[in-house]
């Protein structure tokens, strides 16, 4: 199950809508071992394509280093589908390289009814999971600690 704050869900949907009809992509970092997405980084889709996405390699290096230095990991990796449902494509599955991440897909094919779903992708196997949207992590009991966010 992915437990995620509403403002982060809203931010992913807004990003996907803004970049439509190209695919939008990004990452939400969180403390290592917490499984708690906290810091959203909108990434450039180097492909600028309605059917493909790829993080810009230099931006990815900077963002991954910053996570390393802050003892963070990519808790969520998200991207949008602009003409198909929010389900991982064969390409998505073949390139999935973060077995601990929640892969979130946002579909903007229906402008009025944006669909957001989450998956684990491990060794080529896709498993959909429930998305629990919360106002704050303070009242959700998911991790080892229930410490409120600094902000």
């Amino acid at each position: 199950m992915l437990v995620i704050r509403r403002d982060l869900v809203d931010a992913m949907v807004a990003h996907a809508r803004r970049d439509h009809p190209d695919e939008a992509c990004g990452v939400i970092a969180g403390p290592e071992g917490s499984d708690r997405p906290e810091r959203l980084v909108e990434m450039v889709n180097a492909e600028r394509s309605p059917t493909f996405y790829r993080f810009d390699s230099m931006e990815q290096l900077r963002v991954w280093r910053a996570m390393d230095e802050a003892d963070e990991v990519p808790v969520v990796i998200y991207h949008s589908h602009t003409a198909t449902e929010a389900y991982p494509s064969r390409t998505d599955v073949s390139f999935a390289s973060e077995p601990d991440a929640h892969y979130v897909l946002v579909s903007t094919r229906d402008a009025h009814d944006v669909e957001l779903r989450s998956y684990r992708i491990v060794d080529g196997v896709v498993t959909e999971e429930q998305v629990d949207v919360v106002e704050s992590y303070m009242f959700s009991h998911t991790g080892a600690d229930d410490v409120p966010d600094a902000d």
Binding site: Y53, S57, M58, L61, F95, S97, P99
Partner: protein
């Protein structure tokens, strides 16, 4: 020539879970061969038909080697080599 190589999560099965390992070589190709001698299986995850996999990013310090010679990219003592699988899909 010792360099530090950062290993991404998905390849740590080859390094007993180590995030970072030491290696030596004057080019990226030599560094990868040296890694392979101690961490068997790693090379096949990075190199295909004498070139880097298209969806593996390798950086020497702050440089994406795709733009600096690929496997022939020069590596100097004390350099940091970072391996990151591309985040991509359709």
């Amino acid at each position: 020539m010792a360099v530090k190589v950062s290993i991404p999560t998905i390849l740590r099965t080859h390094t007993s879970g180590e995030k970072s390992v030491e290696a030596s070589g004057g080019t990226l190709g030599q560094v990868i061969d040296d890694l392979e001698s101690r961490h068997a299986g790693l090379k096949a995850r990075l190199v295909k038909e004498d070139a880097l996999h298209r969806f593996i990013n390798v950086y020497v310090n702050d440089e994406d080697v795709r733009f600096s010679g690929g496997l022939n990219a020069e590596v100097k003592d004390g350099d940091n080599v970072t391996i990151l699988p591309a985040v991509a899909g359709g």
